[in-house]
C-alpha cells in the first residue's frame, strides 16, 4: 500500500464559500486551492505557480486577498471565502466583470479570476484609486498576455461606474 504511514486522518472543516455554508473532510495540510478545486468542484480558481508568485489562485478569505495555494485547509476552518464563482450574483455580472470584457482586461483568461478578486479587494478598500494605486494593488497578480494596461483601464472604468451608480 502506498498510502503514507502514520495514520494521518482527514478532518472536518467548515467554511462558508460564496455565501454557502460548506463542510468537507480533508487532510489538514491540503491546500485551500485544492479543497476549492477538487473537493468543492470550484475550478474557477487556478494554479499558475504553486509558490504564491502569480496570484492566479487568489481568493478572498475573511475579506482579505490571499493566495489559496499557500493556505493549509485547517487554517481556513470557519472562514468566509469568496471565489470568482461568487462575484456575479444570479448570473448578473458585476461592473468589474463587464469592464474587463469591454476594455480587453481578459485575453487568455487564466489570470482573470485572481485578477478580478484582487481588483475587487482593491476597490473595496479604495473605491477611487489612482492609476498607481491600481498598479500597486494588482502587483501580486501576473499577466503574460495583456501587458496590464487594459486591465488597469478596466479597473478604473469599473471604479468610475460604481461611483456613478
Amino acid at each position: 500500500m502506498n498510502q503514507p504511514r502514520g495514520g494521518r486522518t482527514k478532518r472536518a472543516i467548515s467554511l462558508t464559500v460564496n455565501g454557502q455554508a460548506t463542510a468537507v473532510r480533508v487532510f489538514p495540510m491540503e491546500r485551500l486551492l485544492d479543497v476549492l478545486r477538487s473537493e468543492l468542484g470550484l475550478t474557477g480558481t487556478k494554479e499558475g505557480c504553486g509558490e504564491g508568485e502569480c496570484g492566479s489562485c487568489s481568493v478572498l478569505m475573511d475579506g482579505e486577498l490571499v493566495n489559496s495555494c499557500l493556505i493549509p485547509a485547517l487554517q481556513a476552518n470557519r472562514s468566509v471565502i469568496v471565489t470568482i464563482e461568487g462575484l456575479a450574483t444570479d448570473g448578473r455580472l458585476t461592473n468589474l466583470q463587464r469592464a474587463f470584457l469591454q476594455c480587453g482586461g481578459a485575453q487568455c483568461g487564466i489570470c482573470t479570476p485572481g485578477m478580478l478578486l484582487a481588483a475587487r479587494h482593491l476597490l473595496c478598500k479604495n473605491p477611487n484609486p489612482s492609476l498607481d494605486d491600481v498598479r500597486e494593488g494588482l502587483s501580486g497578480n501576473l499577466c503574460r498576455c495583456t501587458g496590464y494596461m487594459q486591465i488597469f483601464e478596466a479597473v478604473l472604468e469599473a471604479a468610475r461606474r460604481e461611483d456613478l451608480s
Binding site: 500500500m1 502506498n2 498510502q3 478545486r37 470550484l42 475550478t43 474557477g44 480558481t45 487556478k46 494554479e47 499558475g48 505557480c49 504553486g50 509558490e51 508568485e53 502569480c54 492566479s56 471565489t83 470568482i84 464563482e85 462575484l87 456575479a88 455580472l93 466583470q97 474587463f100 470584457l101 469591454q102 476594455c103 480587453g104 481578459a106 485575453q107 487568455c108 483568461g109 487564466i110 489570470c111 482573470t112 479570476p113 478580478l116 498598479r135 500597486e136 494588482l138 502587483s139 501580486g140 497578480n141 501576473l142 499577466c143 503574460r144 498576455c145 495583456t146 501587458g147 496590464y148 494596461m149 487594459q150 486591465i151 488597469f152
Partner: protein, 755 residues
C-alpha cells in the same frame, strides 16, 4: 474599404463571459470518471547511454501504471519536421529532463515521490552546451555534424562591395533563451478506448500537429485519433509543438491502463523541461559608403536548437529572412545555421527567430550610425526600403509603405528629438541617466515562402438550423482573439450581426485543418478563407433561388433556416491557394517570402539609475502599419502584451543554465515584469490595407516582439554611452561594463600621468 460596422469595431470577446466568471474550462478543470494522474520520470544527466532502470523499494509499484519506450505501439518519435525526437528515451539520453518513464496512479499526490523513486543508471557521454562548442564539433551529438539546418541567402555581388566601402562595420550580437511563461502550465487528458480510438483534450495551439504525431506514435489511422482543444491559458508558441509530447505521454498511459489519464505539469517541470526561445548569435559585417548608405554586407546568424531538430529549421528560416531588417541591401550574404546542444529542445516563441535577428540588425544600425557620424534616425532614413525595391530575398515591395514617414510620426509621438537633446544636456548633472532609442522593423505574416501552399489550409462555414452560421477551423483561441475576429469577419461578409455567428471548438473530429495557429497567419490567411467560405454559404442560398442577391440580415436567416430544414445543414469549404504574385524558390531561397509584411517604428525612453545600475523604461511608443485593424481593443491588447514580453526579453528574463539544465525554474527566480515594472505603452496604428488579407488585415501577433529590445538597448547606449550587444541586459552587466570602463580610464589617466 468600407465595412458594415462589425469589422473595425471592438465587439465583445466571444468567449469572454466564461473567462470573467470562472466558467471557462481549461484542461485541469476537467475530470473524467476513473481518471488517473500521470507524471514523467526525466533524465538528470545531459547525455549518456541508459544502462538500467531501477524502481525503488519503498513504493508498491503494482499500484502504478508504468510505461516505457518499448510500450509504444507505433514509432517512438514526436513527428514534426523530422522524426529524431523520441517520445520516450530508450537507449540514449541527449538532454537533461528528457522523458524516460511514465507513471500513473489514481492519487495525484503519490506521483512526486514515485517519480523520485525511479533511478536511471547511465554511462555519461561528452556534452556540448553552447553554440560555439557545437560548431567546433569536438563532439558530434546530432547527425554527422551537429547541424540541424543551414540556409544561404544571397543577393547582388557580395565580393565587390568591400573595396568600394568607405566604412566596414562589424558587430556581434547575442540573445538568450526566453521562457514563454504562459500562466497555465502544459496539460493533457487522454482516453484510449479499443472501439473509439484515442482522444486527447488539452492546452494547445495546433490540434492537427498533435493529431499527426499521435497517428505515428500509435500507428493509428486519422479517423481513430481525435484531438480537442480546451480553453488555453496562454501559449505564445510554447504550445505549438510541445503538446504533441505531453499528449503522447498521457495517451500511452491511458492505453496501458485502460483509463483516462490526466498529465498536468507544475511550474518547475514546465519551465525546465519544455521549449524556450532559441538563443542566438548574429555577426554583422557591413559595407557602408561615406553617406551612410549600405552597399552590402554579410550576416552570420546562428541559433541553438537544443538536442533535437523540432522546429529549428523554420525558426532559422524566419530569422534569416528578417535579418536584414526593413532596409535596402543592394548585396547581401546571409549564412544561417541551427546547431545542436545537449539542452532541452528549443521551440517557438512569438517572433520565431525574427526578434533575435532584428535585435542584431537594429543594434548594428546604431553602430553604423556612430561610425559614419550620422544620427540613428538619419542612418535609417537613408537605408529604408522603398516601394519597388527588393528585400534581401529579392521580393519586390509592392505596398505603398513610406517608412520615413512612419519613423517621423513615431519620433513626433515620442517627442524624440526634444527629449534626446534635453537628456544630453541634463545627464551630466543627474544620477539617473536618460536616453532615447529607436528600432524599425518588419514582420512577415503567414508561413514563409511555399509554406502556406504546402499547408493548403481548409476552412469551413456551416449553415445551422436556427439560421445562424458556424465557423469550422482548427485555429485556436488562446487570448489573442481568434474566435472574436473570425466571427467578425464572417458576420461582415454576410451582412449578419456578430451574434449570428458561432465558432466550433477546435476538435479534429469536427473541423478541417486550417493550419497551425502560429506565424501571425490567423487573421490574414485563415480570416480570408473564412470570408470566402462564408460567402460560399450565401452563394448556395442564392443559387437555390430562395435568397435574393440583395438581402437583409433577417432574410438571410430565414432562408438559411428554411434551406437547412429541407436539405439539412451544409458546409461551405474554402481552401488556400497561393496567389500568383507570391513566388518562392525553395532551392535558391529567393523570391517572395511572405504575402505581406507589417512595418513598425518603436521608440523607447529609458532611465539608467547609476546607484543600482538598473534600467527602467519610462515611456514607449509603438507605431505599426498593419493593413487594417479589425478589432481596436484586441489589436491594442496584442501590441501592449507583445511589447511587455519584449521588455522582459530585453531587461529581465534570464535563463540561468548549468550543465544544460535551467536552474531558475520558478517564478521567484525567473523574472517576468510585474504591473509595477512596465511603463504606459502607447500604441498607434496605420492602415494601408492589403489585398491578401481579410478586409485588408495583416498579421500583428508577433510584430511587437521584434522592436522593443533593440530600441531599449539603443536607448541605454544613448543614456550612458556604453554599447551593449547581448540581452537580457541585467544591472549586473551594466555594473560590470561601467566598472571596467572606469578601471581602464583610471589606467589610461595614470599612464598619461607617467609621461
Amino acid at each position: 474599404m468600407n465595412t458594415g460596422g462589425i469589422v473595425g469595431t471592438s465587439v465583445p470577446r466571444l468567449e469572454g463571459r466564461g473567462k470573467v466568471t470562472g466558467e471557462a474550462q481549461y484542461v485541469d478543470d476537467m475530470v473524467l470518471p476513473g481518471m488517473l494522474f500521470g507524471a514523467t520520470v526525466r533524465s538528470r544527466i545531459p547525455r549518456g547511454k541508459i544502462r538500467k532502470l531501477m524502481f525503488g523499494p519503498d513504493i508498491d509499484w503494482n499500484e502504478f501504471v508504468i510505461v516505457l519506450a518499448k510500450d509504444i505501439p507505433g514509432k517512438n518519435c514526436i513527428a514534426l519536421i523530422e522524426d529524431d525526437q523520441p517520445c520516450l528515451a530508450k537507449e540514449m539520453i541527449n538532454h537533461p529532463e528528457e522523458p524516460i518513464v511514465l507513471l500513473a496512479h489514481p492519487d495525484r499526490h503519490l506521483l512526486a515521490k514515485a517519480v523520485a523513486a525511479v533511478s536511471v543508471e547511465c554511462d555519461s557521454l561528452p556534452v556540448l552546451f553552447t553554440m560555439e562548442e557545437s560548431e567546433r564539433q569536438t563532439e558530434v551529438i546530432w547527425g554527422t555534424d551537429n547541424l540541424f539546418k543551414s540556409y544561404l541567402i544571397e543577393k547582388g555581388n557580395i565580393e565587390e562591395i568591400w573595396e568600394k566601402a568607405d566604412h566596414i562595420v562589424e558587430g556581434e550580437y547575442t540573445t538568450g533563451a526566453q521562457e514563454q511563461l504562459y500562466i497555465e502550465n502544459n496539460g493533457m487528458i487522454a482516453t484510449f478506448e479499443a472501439k473509439q480510438g484515442l482522444t486527447v483534450w488539452g492546452s494547445l495551439q495546433c490540434p492537427y500537429y498533435v493529431h499527426k504525431s499521435l497517428m505515428k506514435l500509435f500507428d493509428l489511422p486519422a479517423e481513430r485519433v481525435r484531438v480537442v482543444q480546451m480553453e488555453t491559458g496562454g501559449a505564445f508558441g510554447g504550445k505549438e509543438d510541445y503538446p504533441s509530447m505531453i499528449a503522447g505521454h498521457a495517451a500511452l498511459l491511458s492505453m496501458k491502463s485502460g483509463k483516462p489519464v490526466k498529465v498536468i505539469y507544475d511550474r518547475m517541470e514546465d519551465m525546465v523541461a519544455t521549449t524556450k526561445r532559441h538563443p542566438s548569435r548574429t555577426r554583422h559585417r557591413t559595407a557602408v559608403d561615406k553617406d551612410g548608405k549600405i552597399l552590402g554586407g554579410e550576416i552570420d546568424f546562428t541559433i541553438d536548437g537544443g538536442a533535437y531538430k523540432t522546429l529549428s529549421p523554420v525558426v532559422l528560416s524566419r530569422g534569416a529572412i528578417h535579418a536584414g531588417g526593413p532596409y535596402y541591401w543592394p548585396s547581401i550574404r546571409i549564412r544561417a545555421k541551427a546547431v545542436a546542444t545537449n539542452t532541452p529542445p528549443q521551440g517557438a516563441f512569438r517572433g520565431f527567430g525574427a526578434p533575435q535577428s532584428l535585435f542584431a540588425m537594429e543594434r548594428q544600425m546604431d553602430r553604423i550610425a556612430g561610425v559614419v557620424g550620422l544620427s540613428p534616425v538619419e542612418i535609417r532614413r537613408r537605408n529604408f526600403l522603398k516601394p519597388g525595391q527588393t528585400t534581401t530575398t529579392g521580393q519586390v515591395v509592392r505596398e505603398d509603405i513610406d517608412l520615413r514617414k512612419l519613423l517621423d510620426r513615431a519620433l513626433e509621438l515620442s517627442d524624440y528629438h526634444a527629449k534626446k537633446q534635453k537628456f544630453a544636456e541634463e545627464n551630466p548633472r543627474r544620477d539617473h541617466k536618460k536616453g532615447m532609442g529607436i528600432a524599425t522593423v518588419l514582420h512577415g505574416a503567414g508561413f514563409t515562402g511555399s509554406g502556406e501552399r504546402y499547408l493548403a489550409s481548409v476552412v469551413g462555414v456551416e449553415a445551422c438550423e436556427d439560421g445562424s452560421i458556424r465557423i469550422l477551423v482548427s485555429s485556436t483561441e488562446f487570448g489573442q482573439g481568434t474566435n472574436t475576429v473570425l466571427c467578425q469577419i464572417a458576420a461582415e461578409a454576410l451582412g449578419l450581426r456578430y451574434e449570428d455567428v458561432a465558432i466550433a471548438r477546435p476538435d479534429t473530429r469536427e473541423v478541417p485543418n486550417s493550419g497551425p495557429t502560429v506565424a501571425s497567419r490567423t487573421v490574414m490567411v485563415v480570416g480570408k478563407l473564412v470570408q470566402s467560405a462564408a460567402i460560399g454559404i450565401r452563394q448556395t442560398l442564392v443559387a437555390s433561388g430562395l435568397l435574393p442577391e440583395q438581402h437583409t440580415r433577417d432574410e438571410f436567416r430565414a432562408t438559411c433556416r428554411a434551406y437547412v430544414s429541407e436539405h439539412g445543414s451544409f458546409r461551405s469549404l474554402a481552401q488556400y491557394e497561393q496567389p500568383d504574385d507570391i513566388v518562392w524558390d525553395e532551392e535558391q531561397y529567393r523570391g517572395s517570402a511572405y504575402a505581406a509584411f507589417a512595418w513598425a517604428a518603436y521608440i523607447a525612453e529609458v532611465s539608467v539609475d547609476l546607484t543600482t545600475y538598473s534600467v527602467s523604461v519610462d515611456d514607449f511608443v509603438a507605431l505599426q502599419e498593419v493593413g487594417k485593424v479589425l478589432h481596436p481593443v484586441l489589436a491594442r491588447g496584442q501590441i501592449i502584451g507583445g511589447v511587455a514580453q519584449a521588455i522582459g526579453f530585453a531587461l529581465y528574463e534570464k535563463v540561468v543554465w548549468e550543465k544544460g539544465r535551467m536552474q531558475n525554474g520558478q517564478m521567484t527566480n525567473y523574472i517576468m515584469p510585474t504591473s509595477a515594472d512596465l511603463p504606459i505603452i502607447r500604441v498607434y496604428f496605420e492602415e494601408l490595407g492589403n489585398h491578401h488579407g481579410a478586409y485588408g488585415a495583416k498579421g500583428i501577433g508577433e510584430l511587437p516582439m521584434d522592436g522593443p529590445a533593440p530600441a531599449i538597448i539603443n536607448a541605454v547606449e544613448d543614456a550612458i554611452g556604453a554599447p551593449f550587444n547581448s540581452i537580457p541586459l541585467l544591472p549586473e552587466d551594466i555594473f560590470a561594463a561601467i566598472s571596467e570602463r572606469t578601471a581602464s580610464a583610471n589606467l589610461a589617466s595614470r599612464a598619461g600621468g607617467l609621461e
